[in-house]
Amino acid sequence: MTNAGSPVANGPAADPSTGGAAAAPFADRRYTPLERLQHVLHARPYLSPLVVLVLSYLVFTLLNDRFILPGNQATMIKSVVVVAILALGQSLIILTAGIDLSVGFIALLSMMVMAKVYVDQGWSPWVAITVGLLVGLACGALNGALVTVLNLPPFIATLGSFGIIQATMLLYTKGKSVLGTDLSQPHLIAGNIPVRLGAERGPDSFPIYLGIVIMLVLYAVIGFALSQTAWGRHVYAVGDDAEAARLSGIRIKRVLFSVYVVAGGLFAVGGWMAMGLNSVASPNLLSADTNLASITAVVIGGTSLFGGRGRLVGTLLGALIYATFDRGLSLAGADQQWRVFAVGVLVLVAVSVDQWIRKVKA
């Protein structure tokens, strides 16, 4: 069968030469290779970040063979935990066609509350962690209320709460850190508890930190909720077309509010992990850059900023790409600015690819 060069017009039985009448309307179209690619990426938007990740592993290993060593990989994956957890919450919000600019400061405030409640108040570490998580949920509820009750655009709502939460955190901590020596309690620094594989020390040791396990469990739980429950469907539907979702009978405000609250809780867990992985609770640990990193990971991961499209596995890959470039370029001896440069290029490419695949036609 010759390729006509242009797709055959829409509608059943447009091409009488094809057999298989049962699946006629979908089988009788022939696609150019580019259209095929568009269809594949449309169905599986996480494939492009996967290709980027595999390629970057190849290139960075060629540039410096230490890159692939277990010890280096362990450090790299450990460095991705916080951004990956924040990006998980960010993914939920971006799936609803929203955005959260306050992620980093929700994580910081929750973290500082955990540390200070434990050190200053002398409460038990579990109580301290619970209070911190509640603070994260409350911040999420604030954002959710701004978006659903006041009907503010998420960008503006979270820009406002960004300032409010940052200032609250600095007023509360007076800008002071809680040092690691005061955080000796293992629950507080849970993220940093290693379970070693391989050698005790050196390049062949591959410690699986508890933070990595917690990160993977969170991805699995949220991924399950998104793909297997009605709530997950509704999150996608609200982001896809909020008006259609409302007319279908979905309580869109309830769904949106729940998304911001769950995300707030995830950001608090991110803060908890950051405290452990850095062995310090400091107001400077995360910054506005962290907000952008979380958004970058989601976007590189193939999730559409217009909502309703994307998979969490893409976000995880996006966060890994972020860390890979960071580590790989520094091992290759390149200036760190090239990492910033490369991530910038990736974001633009990812958004362009998303624009293209959303125009897919049957």
């Binding site: 059943p12 297997q228 429950t229 008006e243």
Partner: protein, 269 residues
């Protein structure tokens, strides 16, 4: 494609002895000084297609909104199966079995056909998986969605797992209509369902409307397309200046008569 496009006079006349599935009595609604509806009566019987025609601003959509809970009439009653009901929002009407297909196509483009059919009324798996883990019965919903689509005689949508955005306009409309008829609904309200469709796709949607009617569902069809209305409607409610200029049938009046009544060129006695 479909074998039974019969629109008989007997159906329309025989229907009058039964209890209307949905009716409005003395519906009035004003928006400030503008009168949207003035004292309108309407009856919809099970298993009939009642077309609502009228010029722009004649009160077609206000009437339908008052019946489906999208707005509350100032005075007048809405009766479902002869019993007075009060719909505060569209979801109340839907819960009572009145499905509306909106002109804006309330489907989620990125979700697949089955997910769209079951949107906001997903079914969970039996047992622990459904009750504790709240897992969706994806396979079952897909099968039943396929059955629902097949029952309406839609042959062009084979795969329930395909995203709605990759379907043609007619196929999307078919999904929306199938959704309206899939959940044991009593009434389906279709707002300009063929407005954006080609000839062939319009035919498909009209066959679906007939399928809904043959299943005993009362169908309200709002349309500007007179040939479509005369093809499928059993009775035609003509809205004019917020009131009702009369109810005719495709047999009693020609299309030209209908348009004349609609525009006020002639009046019905």
């Amino acid at each position: 494609m479909n074998a039974s496009p019969s629109t008989s006079v007997e159906d329309a006349e025989g229907a009058d002895t039964r209890t209307p599935v949905l009716s409005g009595r003395g519906l009035t609604k004003s928006f400030g000084r503008v009168i949207g509806l003035s004292n309108v009566d309407i009856d919809l019987y099970p298993g009939e297609v009642l077309a609502v025609i009228g010029d722009n601003g004649a009160g077609k959509s206000t009437l339908v909104k008052a019946l489906t809970g999208a707005l509350t009439p100032d005075t007048g009653d809405v009766l479902l199966d002869g019993k007075k009901v009060e719909f505060k929002r569209p979801q109340d009407a839907r819960d009572a079995g009145i499905e509306t297909v909106y002109q804006t196509l309330a489907v989620s483009p990125a979700l697949d056909v089955a997910s769209n059919l079951y949107l906001a009324r997903e079914e969970r798996r039996p047992g622990v998986a459904g009750s504790i883990f709240r897992m969706l019965d994806k396979k079952g919903m897909k099968e039943r969605a396929g059955q629902a689509v097949q029952d309406l005689g839609i042959q062009t949508i084979q795969n329930m797992g395909v995203a709605v955005e990759s379907l043609s306009g007619g196929q999307r409309q078919a999904v929306a209509v199938a959704r309206a008829g899939a959940f044991g609904s009593k009434v389906a309200v279709l707002d300009e369902p063929t407005a954006a469709l080609g000839v062939k796709e319009t035919g498909m949607v009209l066959r679906m409307i007939e399928q809904l009617r043959d299943r005993g569902i009362g169908v309200i069809l709002i349309s500007h397309n007179m040939p479509n209305v005369w093809e499928v409607a059993d009775r035609i409610h003509i809205a004019r200046l917020g009131g009702c200029a009369g109810v005719i049938t495709p047999e009693s009046h020609t299309m030209t008569d209908g348009v004349a009544i609609m525009t006020g060129a002639t009046t019905l006695h």
